[in-house]
């Protein structure tokens, strides 16, 4: 597997994308399932997916693009190797989520929705992980953590850096 994208993801390939799309084309209303499959495979949904998917599913390019751009989860650029997601729902705000977001933003040198100054970490906001009694909640590399203080977030980010570097 090539290394132009992060982690264990494959390099973008129109042929592979078309194969994946065809494998799911028989499902009722398959487009979201297809886009999830592409993102699992490649780590993001390359804009080159639009004509490929549209062709296989017999949709217009506008429909495919419209769906990709509607949903927060679908990324159109390769993601950083590590991810930090912080919940900004009201329940987490009630126990300091905003301060945690500010701290993470400061540490990583980027705003929410951006990538750290070293290009290694994506910082995202999430509206609720369903962990509202144990906030503030953050997810580091897909692992959920409750009662996250700024110090704890630093430790988790350090573990993440050492674990995958």
């Amino acid at each position: 597997m090539s290394t132009t994208t992060a982690g264990t993801h494959a390099t973008w390939s129109d042929d592979r994308a078309a194969d994946l799309t065809r494998s799911l084309a028989g499902l009722p209303g398959p487009l979201l399932e297809v886009l999830h499959a592409l993102q699992r495979e490649f780590g993001y949904v390359d804009p080159r997916a639009v004509p490929v998917v549209a062709d296989v599913l017999n949709l217009s390019r506008a429909e495919v693009h419209g769906v990709i751009s509607f949903y927060t989860d679908f990324r159109t650029t390769p993601t950083a190797p590590r991810s930090v997601q912080i919940c900004r729902g009201e329940a987490c705000q009630a126990v300091g989520a905003e301060a945690l977001v500010a701290h993470a933003s400061d540490r990583l040198g980027c705003d929410v929705g951006g990538t750290s100054s070293d290009g290694r970490t994506d910082l995202r906001q999430v509206f609720c992980f369903g962990n509202c009694a144990l906030g503030p909640t953050a997810s580091v590399d897909g692992r959920l953590h409750g009662r996250v203080t700024p110090d704890r977030l630093d430790a988790l980010m350090l573990d993440s850096a050492e674990g995958t570097a």
């Binding site: 009722p28 209303g29 398959p30 487009l31 979201l32 399932e33 297809v34 886009l35 999830h36 429909e63 419209g66 769906v67 509607f70 949903y71 927060t72 989860d73 679908f74 919940c87 729902g89 009201e90 329940a91 987490c92 705000q93 009630a94 126990v95 999430v126 509206f127 609720c128 992980f129 369903g130 962990n131 509202c132 009694a133 144990l134 906030g135 909640t137 897909g142 959920l144 953590h145 409750g146 009662r147």
Partner: protein, 517 residues
Amino acid sequence: MTTIVYVPRDSAARSVGADEVAVALTAEAARRGDDIRIVRNGSRGLLWLEPLVEVDVDGTRVAYGPVAADDVAGLLDAGLLRGGEHALRLGPTDELAWLSRQDRVTFARVGIIDPLDLVDYESHGGLVGLRVAVALPPQDVVTAVADSGLRGRGGAGFPAGRKWQTVLDAPGTTKYVCCNADEGDSGTFADRMLMEGDPFTLLEGMAIAGLATGATRGYIYLRSEYPDACDILRSAIEIGRAAGWLGPSVLGSGRAFDVEVRVGAGSYICGEETAMLDSLEGKRGMVRAKPPLPALEGLFGKPTVVNNVLTLGSVPAVLADGAESYAARGMGRSRGTQVFQLAGNIRQGGVVETAFGITLRELVEDFGGGTVTGRPVRAVQVGGPLGAYLAPSQLDLPMDYEAFAAEGAMVGHGGVVVHDDSADMAGLARFAMEFCAEESCGKCTPCRVGSVRGVEVIDKITAGVDRRANLVLLQDLCELMTEGSLCAMGGLTPGPVRSALAHFPEDFGLTPEEVAQ
């Protein structure tokens, strides 16, 4: 003899170290030659005590918590496996007041059983409701649900039986049951806990809905933020198929019903039922105008039952114990139990299932123990981000759809988010508008544009720019969004804004008199 030790696999418990506790227990017991079997159960719902470890001592479950991995060796030294004394020992789980004061119907098995053990499920009353339903004509099943008084637990509170009746009466052979598992409201997590802790109950409820209405296909629309629930549900579906109560012939009845999980993609609006249907069809999650009702023209234009996780999860109990038993609980037109969720700045957060009619004060003070910071409660938001902020003076409101509606508030999904006196209510009102702007599907102007203007106007008010004129503008905007939006997103966003203005005008730099005008 093998000792059974329960360590929850609920993602809230995992978020505070349950996996590490399970690993430490396995290793430490092996080192000592202790014969244990660890069951990864759902959470008992006392989330502030997670990871809550339970040991089966001669048939009685004894609780310890919150347990950290570092505590494990000391606990075993203290005789954990025999229920021995320790600073973390809480006593027999069923005797904990927090649990014994509840009336668990929908959550009867959550935390008790191994979520994916069908034998455990059946030995705790599972599949009884489905067996009853299989033996009844569809109309009798629908009538039972109607008679139980069960209303949609997703927030709107629409009578489930009436919805099912519409689908049953609709012509056509292709019908669907769609479970709305897009639990996006901050402060709600009961859907997740049921799916992780007792997934068979949801599947059984969906199968009953299918038999009752003639639908043969079910979809669970699950939010992508719940990966653990997704894995558990998919495993549970496989187990249900293998056991023959999902698939071409439900319990040998010759009637088909099967379920598939579809995962969302981070859009809050897809929790609105028509946007969810569009999303299930692989489209942008755009809200549809009603009519047509989804019960008549729903998924792919076919008659569709759309119910929330807890609604469908309550159905097996209604069929198993009878409509009267369910309807005997509650008050007014709010029958049965609601699974309240205590969240935010609360000392004892978690799940409280009890009959409607309990007061907000009992929930926040008696069960919740006040704020975790120890400061006074300033505001309580009930029913998610679209629910009103209630002031401490309103805590004696009974949890009842109609009583809340009379106060301009809503019970919604039963989420209760507590804020202490450090809360900036103008900031939270602004956030309500900001959230709406972020998550609006964009179909109708009051929501799409109104929310953006709402943020701007609140900013002007708090900055002291032409306060009076901008207050009039904000109130006008709130009225327009309430009356003119296509769905509850734009229609209810003014709820938190107006209530924050009414109860906490000082946070906006206003006087009560100015707001009242």
